[in-house]
């Protein structure tokens, strides 16, 4: 009942202690993770640094930081436009690492990327990402089994390897995916690309239940989660709530707007779990 008032201090769970620990600590307190996504370099590199700090202040538990890519096939218009903007400003892998080193948040950061710009980062890309302060990596277009050698190299590397599960994923494959991942499992809530939507898919609780049967890893749900009431609904069934396009859109208006949205999501999530 009082879990909402328990503060999980950044000092107690520094970033290098990682994502799994953060989720475990939240779980111990009956809380759920708020996981905002922002595109690195949007609306500009300076404000990305400010956003990381502001989102942490507003109650984010983990931040997904997107490395912009020219052809983001899994993303809707808002994240496409933010990526385009960041690329026009010259954002690349090395500059993202520099941003993270400056931001030095007290919460874990996940590097969110398409495969090609990550490959261009070179063989030591993930080691350098870890040194810069990232705790995890998620690769949109590297599904389990697509490139076992590369996947093994990432899995054996210094970062937690966040894998994706889709509503179309059959239960046996869910198990396989979870076995090849760490940190948490990212459940894509619906068919389609990222974006702001008004509803949640009716079958989401069933999909979460299926995934729970396949893994003990924490489950975070994203894609189309944008409003506090949606975040609250997700918080009742999952361990974490990922909000991307809505945060990116707010970030385009200003750091304060994004922080305000994050705070309202935080409050909705905590209220939902308090009364659960």
């Amino acid at each position: 009942m009082a879990s909402g008032s328990v503060t999980i201090s950044s000092e107690a769970f520094p970033a290098q202690h990682g994502i799994a620990e953060r989720f475990a600590a939240l779980k111990a307190h009956g809380r759920r993770a708020l996981v905002p996504y922002i595109t690195a370099g949007h609306p500009d590199p300076e404000r990305t640094v400010a956003l990381i700090g502001a989102l942490e202040q507003a109650g984010a538990d983990v931040i997904e930081l997107g490395l912009p890519f020219s052809d983001p096939m899994a993303d809707g218009p808002i994240i496409q436009a933010s990526s385009q903007r960041a690329l026009e400003l010259g954002v690349n892998f090395d500059r993202v690492l520099a941003l993270v080193q400056r931001a030095r948040p007290g919460i874990p950061l996940v590097l969110f990327s398409y495969l090609n710009p990550l490959l261009a980062g070179g063989g030591d890309a993930l080691t350098r990402a870890a040194q810069a302060g990232f705790s995890g990596v998620l690769v949109t277009d590297l599904p389990v089994g697509s490139d076992p050698e590369l996947e093994a190299r990432i899995g054996d590397g210094p970062l937690a390897f966040i894998r994706l599960v889709a509503p179309t994923t059959p239960a046996p494959r869910m198990r396989e995916i979870a076995e090849h991942g760490s940190g948490f499992v990212y459940l894509i809530s619906r068919l389609g690309v990222t974006g702001v939507r008004d509803d949640l898919p009716a079958e989401l609780p069933e999909t979460v239940a299926r995934l729970r049967g396949a893994t003990t890893l924490p489950v975070a749900v994203g894609f189309g989660v944008s409003r506090p009431e949606q975040a609250a609904a997700v918080a009742r069934i999952a361990d974490g709530v990922v909000v991307g396009s809505a945060i990116v859109r707010a970030a385009g208006e200003g750091v304060d707007q994004a922080a305000k949205l994050a705070a309202s999501l935080r409050a909705a999530i905590d209220t939902a779990t308090d009364t659960a």
Binding site: M73, Q84, N92, N116, G121, P167
Partner: protein
């Protein structure tokens, strides 16, 4: 058989796609591998190719072009197919597969519009809903093909993101597929995309070399010394090469678009100037910058205007089995006129690249050595564009 065995051509290919699509791609692969071994499917495909597409396509001799080049050039006439290009070989096969899989909605991407037209055509023939994604820049360049698609009942969706060309149309088609994966079949138009597409499209296009090999033996009495085809994504080239790959003495040459020159930064020569990377679901040669961002392609021909290339071409390049060369916009324009004037065949601007390369290689062949040129499509679609270019001087 696990998919891992057939996923790749050396290190190239694979299925680098969002997780949402994996079950659909697994389903597609199972359905295709069942269909290709099913005599009923093959009989239906053959019937359609014969009675609807108009196959076999002719193998024409080309006496005046041969004289010009100093070799014996043979033309495999994919321009004579229904809809005027090789693209329909693939769409007929895939639409039959889609029907077999119970899919009711078809989507496609298109650059020059030839694949879009070929898809709209087979969808009209079978009464299937058809949505074609096309870059707005290409819609402008290929206005008549947009009209053709709409005439046959297809919805053409303009794509305004990125470079507004084939690359962006493909990305948008993949976004549609991720969203509507349960009822939608994506007919990819070239030997690109995640496995099994590169292999499946190659198989369907290899009717070109299956016929051409037999026709060469019958009409020329021997195999060609060299097979030449243009390469954008590379489907007509894979189709023209495939049956000749085991014939070690037959040279295979793919001609890429050098645009305004290989050093201008404005070209589509992925194999000549790219390096391996991942785009649209597969690992292959790719035009990209040092940071892994895809570099916009350029070509006078919308059909070659693509920064990637089919993974099997990357493999044929790496193994040395095929040679890849390039031809500029200006040279292609001369090839366009050359075949028109010497043979009364107006080639597509894509094909004109292959024409121009052969014309540039005088002395490479002996007079009686046969060179097989795949005429991937007819140039009617390009006439309006080229007529604006003052090619005859003023």
């Amino acid at each position: 058989m696990t998919t891992a065995q057939t996923d790749r051509f050396g290190i190239f290919g694979g299925r680098y796609v969002p997780e949402t699509l994996i079950p659909a791609i697994d389903e597609l692969e199972r359905a295709y591998d069942a269909a290709r071994l099913d005599p009923a499917f093959n009989a239906e495909l053959e019937h359609m190719l014969r009675t609807y597409v108009g196959r076999p396509s002719a193998l024409s001799d080309a006496p005046r072009f041969s004289e010009h080049v100093g070799a014996t050039v043979w033309l495999k006439r994919e321009d004579l197919n229904h809809t005027g290009a090789h693209k329909i070989n693939n769409t007929v096969g895939q639409v039959l597969l889609a029907r077999r899989m119970g899919k009711t909605r078809i989507i496609a991407e298109t650059g020059a519009g030839q694949h879009g037209v070929a898809t709209a055509t087979v969808c009209a023939r079978f009464g299937l809903q058809c949505v074609v994604y096309m870059g707005e820049e290409d819609m402008r360049r290929q206005e008549l093909n947009v009209f053709r698609m709409r005439l046959m009942g297809a919805t053409v969706v303009g794509v305004s993101s990125g470079t507004r060309t084939l690359k962006d149309a493909t990305t948008e088609a993949i976004r549609d597929w991720v969203t509507n994966v349960n009822d939608t079949y994506y007919i990819i138009g070239s030997v690109v995309g995640p496995a099994p597409y590169p292999r499946m499209v190659r198989d369907l296009q290899s009717v070109i070399s299956r016929e051409a090999r037999a026709q060469m033996l019958a009409q020329a009495g021997r195999l060609p010394k060299t097979v030449v085809a243009c390469v954008g994504g590379g489907s007509n080239a894979m189709g023209a090469f495939h049956e000749f790959v085991p014939d070690a003495e037959v040279e295979l040459v793919g001609v890429e678009a050098a645009g305004q020159g290989l050093d201008s930064g404005l070209h589509s020569a992925s194999l000549s100037r790219g390096r391996p990377g991942v785009l649209h679901g597969s690992m292959s040669y790719l035009l990209q910058d040092d940071h892994g961002q895809v570099h916009p392609a350029h070509s006078i021909s919308a059909g070659l205007d693509y920064p990637g290339v089919g993974p099997e071409h990357s493999y044929l390049k790496e193994t040395g089995r095929a040679e890849y060369v390039s031809v500029t916009d200006d040279e292609a324009l001369r090839g366009f006129q050359l075949l028109s004037r010497l043979e009364g065949i107006i080639p597509a601007l894509e094909t004109a690249h292959a024409v121009a390369w052969i014309a540039s290689q005088k002395g490479r062949w002996k007079r009686d050595e046969p060179v097989l040129l795949c005429v991937s499509g007819r140039g009617d679609k390009d006439v309006a564009q080229v007529s604006q270019m003052n090619i005859f001087g003023s």
